[in-house]
């Protein structure tokens, strides 16, 4: 089985989907000739031509809005936002249009667009190249939000997103792009959107997280295993709508739950996860639900001292896990 990086899995999924269905096309800033600022669309322009790998004007609302229109016709656009931070000009198109298209037309029209965006920090990207923006969209019924944590998941979930008949936001951790490598089967598999995934079975404490933090939690779990602390790790994978059943099952399994996000704490996805657990698992809990998240400041600063202070990392995760195990 080939081993590839997280970003190679993105490119592979795009290439395979473009071969499978000629209605699939890519649009965004610098995605064509250059192959994307992160090179996620590398080689696609040469392979499929400028009409299926569109360099658009620098205008995010148009990238989303034109994509939505094409999707309404029956195309399968995969729009790239160069950074998740720059999705803001397109929020009206995403929330007022894509999310509501099926509902407002009483199931007459739909908008099957996939919008990919690199998110996350730890790359010296400062305030506007580091953000986690998922919570802005995570109370918008009609949207689906996927955040994969491994190359294997990237390929299977991106294919699922492109084939999904509803709009999907697909956030890729930009530090994971080259940091994470893993085995990715050559065959044409899809993974279910809306389902969380147990990344490690364990019996002492439960970690529920997503994206790059899954990787940090797995690292910390290996260390803690040497101390006899056995962590159960649930990767949300789809952060909207949440897989409530899997969350409840994972929380009940150990009765001690740590929730982790790279976003700042207040109003983040994990607050909703905590509410689900509080509603359903009160008598199964042996400790207060714990949250590890970024501080409530506007965004991640540039200087390495402050960036490190903001970012979740394996050490912070390990400490939070140990504290919970010892509760």
């Amino acid at each position: 089985m080939p081993v590839m990086s997280y970003i190679q899995a993105v490119t592979t999924a795009l290439r395979e989907e473009m071969h499978r269905d000629e209605k699939v096309f890519v649009l965004g800033e610098d995605v064509g000739k250059k192959g994307g600022v992160f090179r996620a669309t590398d080689g696609l322009y040469d392979e499929f031509g400028e009409h299926r790998v569109l360099d658009t004007p620098l205008a995010e609302s148009a990238i989303a809005g034109v994509g939505i229109g094409a999707a309404m016709y029956g195309m399968r656009p995969v729009a790239e936002m160069q950074f998740a931070d720059f999705i803001m000009p397109a929020v009206n198109q995403i929330i007022s249009e894509a999310a509501k298209m099926r509902y407002r037309s009483n199931n007459d029209w739909d908008a099957p667009i996939t919008i990919r965006a690199p998110y996350g920090g730890g790359v010296h990207g400062a305030l506007y190249h580091s953000q986690s923006v998922e919570s802005i969209f995570a109370n918008q019924p009609g949207l689906k939000i996927v955040i994969p944590s491994t190359p294997y998941d990237v390929k299977g979930l991106l294919k699922a997103a492109i084939r999904d008949n509803d709009p999907v936001l697909f956030f890729e951790h930009k530090r994971a792009y080259r940091l994470l490598k893993g085995e990715v089967p050559e065959d044409d598999y899809v993974l279910p959107i809306g389902k969380a995934d147990v990344k490690r079975e364990g019996s002492d404490i439960t970690i529920i997280t997503y994206g790059l933090c899954v990787h940090f939690a797995l690292q910390a779990a290996e260390k803690l295993a040497e101390e006899g602390i056995d962590a159960h790790i649930l990767d949300l994978r789809t952060i909207y709508p949440l897989d409530q059943e899997a969350i409840i099952e994972a929380a009940k399994k150990t009765g001690k739950v740590l929730l982790i996000t790279e976003d700042n704490k207040e109003g983040s996805i994990i607050g909703e996860v905590a509410a689900i657990i509080a509603e359903n698992c009160l008598f199964d809990l042996d400790a207060p639900i714990q949250r590890l998240a970024g501080p409530d400041i506007p965004a991640m600063p540039y200087a390495p001292t402050m960036e490190k202070y903001f970012m979740v990392n394996p050490d912070k995760v390990e400490k939070a896990m140990r504290d919970l195990a010892e509760f």
Binding site: R52, L54, G65, Y103
Partner: protein
Amino acid sequence: MSNTRHAELGLSDEKVLDMYRTMLLARKLDERMWLLNRAGKIPFVISCQGQEAAQVGASFALDREIDYVAPYYRDMGVVLAFGMTAKELMLSGFAKAEDPNSGGRQMPGHFGQKKNRILSGSSPVTTQLPHAVGIALAAKMEKKDFVSFVTLGEGSSNQGDFHEGLNFAGVHNLPVITMVENNKYAISVPIEKQIASKTVADRAVSYGMPGVTIDGNDPLAVYEAVKEARERAVNGEGPSLIEAVSYRLTAHSSDDDDRTYRESEEVEEARKKDSIITFAAYLKEVGILTEEVEKEINKSITDIVNEATDYAENAPYAEAESALKYVYEE
């Protein structure tokens, strides 16, 4: 009578009469909706009155079998011309389950009907413009002969989506026709306080497309401009911007009182140019709208409006719990 204006444009007598009939149906439906609103039977109306000539003239210049339209809330004339029925519009007015636009989910004026290629619209203005550009992009990618047609108000031409969408269309040379229905007001704010350029059409220059300003009260002038734009679009010559100037004859909506910001003399003056009157006068002058024909049209439209009203008023609402349906594919 081959030297009439409409014959010179290649329009038969039947076609122009059909145009007039569609304009009049839009007007009469709209008037009925106001009555229903003032009688407390429907909560909201937003009018086409004063813009029927632009809407119907443009629609008749399109290919109503294949083209896509992304109308805005005043475009009753467009959606009627594209196949939505009076009954369906009334169902939307009454927010009944059978409303094809939204099943009673959206306010009236939020059109959409896939079988007639009418894109679903929302309330935030101008969001439909990039959608129409996306449809045109699909036409180009799929090498199809249809065009897309999108409308909006002049105030709405200040939104970012106007700029982003038209520039995208210009750069990629897409078959999309944008028609700004300039009715001189955006709620209470007059055109002088909306737009710094002399005309809306002037803005076309920066998008690399032709821009024309035409008399929106003259359906034949609008027909001619849209026809030309469509020909250019299907010949691969790209997008166009058309500004159809008319006047908003009613208040902005049933919730607005326009006496607080404009003089009634101004409205009266505009009524003299009302296309329903002036186009009827033209059709009489050329001998098409005879007394007999006019009588027949008036009667048939009254019947249609009455039937539509009765049907919609008596139709059921959607079940309350149906509010939960169609968030995602089911």
